[in-house]
């Protein structure tokens, strides 16, 4: 363990190393390239591989392949690249492949302002690919959180055999902060469950009693099947409604039923809170300050920073905001995650505070907008 002073991007790279990353595949894109460059220097020293591929499509597919060869793998990109990756993420969902995708949001749509920040892609991170299932999305706001949540992202992806999106943004990417860096062996690391039956008996998509099947890898003699088609427990294509139902509900349940365990947030100024400013990612820094300002002006404001955006833990959020009169969802986009929360918090008054800014929304601006509703 050591204390360092690094950017959000470097913290992600360090976190991935602590979690046991062995394969990084990438295609350069602002503002993620320094994750790539850092790992290109550091990962080979630890026996891992870093390869630049011909595009993001190749990168994510190679990461999925490496994961099937038992290596923890990761790629990082921003909007344009993530858009190219979504087809393969859908593959990772149905094949239940652990893989971590770091999504550093920048200003869009399209090429937008490549170096600057925004939170426009928060829904794409989980809804962006076909198949209608949810992947866990974790959102750090500081370099320390970037480190911690990267480790978590790997653990969740291994445990649930799912792709996990670590959703950062251009602001966090280049924000420096004090980070407690842990080395491999100093953090709790989860490894995917391995089959306990001999190869003849192994069924690659048989979850047994639970919801997550043990995973054998290429080269272990298990004759694994990676199957993008709807498949039964053996991995055999089965275009039948009963199989589709079983598969869909299991894939859905294994993520959604983990919501309580995945739920993570930070809260400040909670006591007596009657005005909750809910936010995530870099904007939650603005919100934290805004809540402090509101408190100083006599409002009973609090700030809540969601670190797990998906799956949405509805009960947890309801409990957290129980009794709060007004909930303001502050985000640097046209008001996207608000739609998720509006449905969850039907009892309270939920107000969208969309503030579009190439940098962090100014806390003062947040305060002004909120006050219009108080």
């Amino acid at each position: 363990m050591r204390v360092d002073y690094v950017t959000g991007n470097t913290a992600i790279a360090l976190g991935s190393i602590a979690a046991g990353l062995r394969f990084y595949a990438g295609y350069p894109i602002t503002p993620t390239s320094d994750i790539f460059e850092f790992l290109a220097r550091e990962l080979p020293k630890r026996g891992g591989y870093v390869v630049q591929f011909e595009d993001e499509i190749a990168s994510i597919n190679a990461a999925i392949g490496a994961s099937w060869a038992c290596a923890k793998s990761m790629t990082a990109t921003s909007g344009p690249g993530f858009s190219l990756m979504v087809e393969a993420l859908s593959l990772a969902v149905i094949t239940e492949t652990p893989v971590v995708v770091v999504y550093v949001m920048r200003t869009g749509p399209s090429t937008g302002v490549p170096t600057r920040s925004g939170q426009y892609d928060v829904l794409q991170a989980t809804y962006g690919f076909h198949g209608g299932l949810v992947v866990p999305v974790l959102a750090p706001a500081t370099p320390q959180e970037a480190f911690d949540l990267t480790v978590r992202a790997f653990n969740v992806s291994e445990k649930l055999r799912t792709p996990v999106v670590l959703l950062s943004d251009a602001t966090i990417a280049h924000t420096y902060g004090r980070v407690v860096v842990r080395e491999p062996g100093e953090v709790e690391v989860v490894e995917r469950a391995k089959p306990s039956v001999p190869p003849e008996k192994y069924r690659p998509y048989d979850p047994g009693e639970g919801l997550v099947p043990p995973m054998a890898c290429f080269g272990e003699g298990y004759n694994v099947l990676v199957e993008s088609l709807t498949h039964d427990e053996r991995g055999y294509y089965a275009p039948r409604s009963d199989v589709q139902r079983r598969l869909m509900w299991r894939l859905y349940r294994k993520i959604v039923e983990s919501a309580p365990e995945l739920f993570d947030y930070g809260a400040a100024y909670l006591d007596g809170c009657d005005v909750a400013l809910v936010s995530y990612g870099s904007t939650s820094l603005s919100t934290l300050v805004a809540a402090k300002i509101l408190r100083s002006e006599g409002y009973r404001a609090c700030s809540i920073r969601l670190r797990t955006l998906f799956p949405v833990y509805e009960e947890g959020i309801r409990r957290l905001l129980n009794g709060v009169g007004k909930v303001f969802v502050v985000e640097n986009n046209v008001g996207l995650y608000y739609r998720e929360l509006r449905g969850v918090l039907r009892g309270s008054e939920v107000v969208s505070v969309p503030i579009i800014d190439l940098d962090l929304p100014q806390p003062r601006e947040v305060v002004e907008v909120v006050k219009q509703w108080l």
């Binding site: 591929f53 060869a69 290429f218």
Partner: protein
């Protein structure tokens, strides 16, 4: 279960019969691949648990459903990066990519290009039935100019790809074109490809009687097969310049390139070991 066929031990026999149409050339190709593998495994130059298949989407790519090895049936065009991901972290694997001409030369075109440029240690077998089979007989980059497909009802206006030239130009270690009409030669090519380091590319002319044959007037599988056989020109050690790919002049098959330059994995490992204070 009685062993009905010597290759059954390499097949997921419970999945047979295959999904392919009666008379499809792909079954012949699968037979050649398994026989070549059998030779390698029996002579001890390949370990069975180190053989892995990867295919994208298409009738050809579905070949990955049947062999009783580690196998991945992924998404259209992306089997090459998947296989390379496996290979990089498990260099002991012999990864065989099987796909159609659409899978590998069209949507996967960027990946094959760069896999060859890297001389990536993969065996890539591109089944070329001159159309898109799975989706119903549309034009492929390999469709000879002038022929009819469902998306070129007035004849294909496009120039066809000669992928042998591409693979040779970008530096694959092994480049061959075989045909399901000439199985001993095809099996030999695949056998050889399995023994290469670097990228070994085998283009395989195959027949799709169901869609290609019907559109160009060869309704029965045997007619199409005989037609292809007529148009195939076998050459021993032809040069790349001789690699004609033409409905009129014929399709030259043979081994065009056979060299032995270090593959990507070897070089990557060497460079990576520098980080650990190793060689270099």
């Amino acid at each position: 279960m009685a062993v009905a066929h010597p290759l059954d031990r390499y097949l997921r026999t419970d999945r047979l019969p295959t999904m392919w149409c009666p008379g499809c050339g792909l079954g012949i190709l699968l037979g050649c691949i398994l026989r070549a593998l059998d030779r390698r495994i029996r002579e001890g130059s390949l370990r069975r648990e180190n053989v892995g298949f990867a295919g994208g989407i298409g009738c050809s790519a579905r070949m990955t459903l049947y062999p009783y090895f580690d196998s991945a049936h992924v998404i259209h065009g992306r089997a090459i990066p998947f296989a390379l991901g496996v290979k990089i972290v498990k260099p002991e694997m012999k990864m065989i990519v099987v796909g159609g001409d659409g899978d590998i030369a069209a949507i996967g075109g960027n990946h094959i290009l760069h896999a060859i440029r890297r001389n990536a240690d993969l065996v890539v077998i591109m089944a070329n039935n001159m159309i898109y089979g799975m989706t119903g007989g549309q034009q492929a980059p390999t469709t000879p100019r002038g022929l009819y497909t469902t998306t070129t009802p007035y004849g294909n206006p496009e120039r066809e790809i000669n992928i042998v030239k591409l693979a040779a130009a970008l530096g694959a270690n092994y480049v061959a074109r075989g045909s399901v009409t000439h199985t001993p030669l095809l099996e030999q090519m695949i056998y050889k490809a399995l023994g290469k380091r670097g990228l070994a590319f085998v283009e395989v002319l195959s027949t799709c009687p169901e869609l290609f044959g019907r559109h160009i007037g060869f309704r029965s599988p045997v007619d199409l097969y005989s037609e292809l056989r007529k148009r195939v020109v076998v050459k021993t050690r032809p040069s790349v310049e001789e690699s004609d790919y033409s409905w009129e002049r014929g399709f030259v098959i043979g081994e065009f390139v056979d060299r032995d330059e270090p593959g990507f994995i070897e070089v990557l490992q060497e460079y990576t070991s520098r980080a650990r204070g190793g060689a270099g």
